[in-house]
Point group: C2
Chain length 409, copies 2
């Protein structure tokens, strides 16, 4: 498609230059609202508090399907429609969980130097090279799909191994007989988790697979647009997710609960934070102007997970009381801002109750988000155009003669 044919609004023709060079388009900072691509992967409707993976509500999927079904939906475009199809996919990805041997040997050095998410960046980069992932532009769709499944399947194994090594523990081999989330908790702790923990973590993981063109997903697509291999794309996305402005930290929401300690201290802690203009972790979202549907679902998950256990029930009740009061205070002190609870708040509560250590909260998020990245990378590769924007130079006008003060060296 040429510039002339493309659906530009607001093209700007400067006189005296060719149309090609002069057609520049100013857009809002951060590309806010700029449609960079069409997609069939999913979408977020911020005003409605709704998001979906392909044609299904992501929340419905999280409540009704095992993670592997949703994984298949994202990568292959369809849910399994029979128990056989489901089992075939589970078996296929189950075989890809193990860490290739040469990578196993290097993991202790990576773990010693790195937090788990940083470590994943290095280890997955190396695993992609070891498996000889080739540029997507040079390989058939079936090979790209195989590369995507490998990266998604090995990511949880790498993360848990890096975590355990960093804590001085031996990595735990993945198990084929456990479902995705139960295997994740098994590899993390070396013990079989209660079914309620696995179910809760599975729902959380499904609900975080994809969420529009956030910075890491967009990063994955920009790298994919160069025809680079899937490993390069996913490693880049991990880097974007590690940014505090993006991947966030569900552990920060817990840090708020730690600071408040008891409900009677809520106003004393939170009021000054809002007065100072501090961001209250776990509240507010750039897209949702209503309840974050993930937050609503995870609150239910947290309640079920607490069940009849007194300590857990007290913790969830305290979290709910905190949420309630923070929202009241935000509404009172920041009227019109429409701030709601975001995914971080109850994600932190659920992961804490399920026994996931806090330093693994963001890595756990990454372990399912890699599926969404891969779905986006495969879509980009299937109908690609390199993403190469422009900038406006605003520095001193060149060419200024290069000052000479001595010979070259």
């Amino acid at each position: 498609m040429t510039i002339a044919e493309s659906p530009i609004r607001g093209s700007l023709d400067l006189p005296g230059q060719s149309a090609d060079a002069a057609t520049t388009i100013d857009v809002p900072p951060g590309l806010k609202g700029v449609i960079v691509s069409e997609t069939g992967v999913g979408d977020v409707r911020g005003e409605e508090g709704f998001y979906h993976y392909r044609q299904y509500s992501a929340i419905d999927l999280a409540e009704q399907r095992p993670l592997e079904d949703v994984w298949r939906l994202m990568i292959d475009g369809a849910l399994p429609s029979s128990a056989t199809q489901r089992q075939d996919f589970i078996a296929e990805v189950g075989r890809l969980r193990s860490i290739p041997l040469p990578i196993v040997d290097v993991l202790p050095a990576i773990a010693a130097a790195s937090e788990p998410l940083e470590g994943l960046r290095s280890a997955l980069s190396l695993a992609a090279a070891h498996r000889m992932l080739r540029p997507t532009i040079d390989i058939a769709p079936a090979r790209r799909r195989a590369d995507a499944l490998f990266l998604c399947a090995v990511t949880p194994t790498l993360l848990c191994a890096l975590h355990r090594l960093r804590r001085g523990m031996t990595p735990v081999e993945p198990r084929d007989d456990l479902c995705y989330a139960a295997n994740y908790l098994w590899m993390l702790h070396g013990t079989e988790p209660p079914a309620a923990h696995a179910d809760a973590v599975e729902q959380y993981l499904i609900s975080t697979i994809d969420h529009g063109f956030n910075a890491s997903t967009f990063t994955a697509r920009v790298v994919a647009s160069t025809g680079a291999d899937l490993g390069a794309c996913v490693v880049a996305a991990i880097g974007a997710l590690s940014g505090p402005l993006h991947g966030g930290a569900p552990s920060r929401a817990l840090a708020l609960l730690d600071e408040v300690r008891t409900p009677d201290r809520l106003d004393a802690v939170v009021r000054p934070m809002i007065e100072r203009g501090d961001k209250i972790m776990g509240f507010g979202h750039p897209v949702y102007k209503t309840d974050d549907p993930r937050s609503v679902m995870l609150k239910g998950v947290a309640r079920r997970l607490a069940g009849n256990d007194t300590a857990s029930g007290r913790f969830v009740a305290f979290a709910e009381a905190t949420e309630h009061r923070v929202l009241q205070l935000l509404d009172e002190m920041k009227p019109g801002r429409r701030l709601h609870t975001n995914v971080e708040f109850y994600a932190g509560v659920v992961m804490e109750l399920a026994g996931i250590p806090r330093e693994m909260f963001t890595p756990t998020f990454a372990s399912s988000r890699v599926i969404g990245w891969c779905a986006n990378i495969l879509e980009q590769a299937a109908d690609n155009k390199i993403i190469r924007p422009s900038a406006r130079y605003v520095g001193l006008q060149p060419p200024v003669p290069v000052p000479q003060f001595a010979d070259r060296h």
Copy 2:
């Protein structure tokens, strides 16, 4: 800046939705011509065949200054204005050339699994973690600058070590007493290079430090916009550069010379390629509609490098004859396309003459481009807004009820 204040042209207000949700902007595919940022790092003027680093012609800099001067210009914003300032900077970055010890231990495993550029992706990721690079959003500008200098300084050392290990050779320690390019060739070969080789490679490296908002530079800025550490940004950019549609391969231009072999075979080889619609490597550029200024400079470098050596002189003459005839044929067979020789053609010739092995052509390009990436990352971090675009969902309309065929597991 709010949407209302920002310089949108072509905002689209859909009835019945709030302005915020409805303000979407359609732009050309691949963000072509879309101004995503202001910058003071540099610019490319495609119609003029001119590009610059800050206020200076990049070609002038490559012809008149040592690489470290330009490196300082990119990172600190100014050329050194005295011999003392120059020496201070050279000493500062010289101290950062060595590979940290724990990374040295892991390099053989990385080299065994990886091509050099892939290997750099893994090794630099690990080196960044080892050096405990922190999110740019959490650290002061001086710390960010130090992180940038470290990544730029250690990259050539890592690349040469990975190359030698992959070939079964022992890595060669960097030397403080050699200039940037001489040290690079020293680490590659383990012998001191002729001054003419070092000078030629230095000019090439300077000329490839930066070149507008290409895909890898944009990738670096998107990751930087999340507040991630400089290592995450550079590792992501390496991934983008590894894509065949971006980083290209100056070795492909040499492959054309290999195929032609002798000038009398030019028409027989090239005509069918153009007829088939094959891309002729080394010709055509998405931005330059005239001579690529890097190509013009590198042709001169190649001539000087050949000097009085008969074999080298014959090689350069053959390359020039090939360039001349390919341009004639392109003009004849693709009239109006305005295809010119790009940087790849004479970059390949220069690197071949300077003794750089072909598999190191693109990695050598990366070894200086990392300076441009870092200049862009520091600029993004200094005045940041997260880059988070939108997409248009075009799949089946949700919500479709999730089909049930069995229990959850």
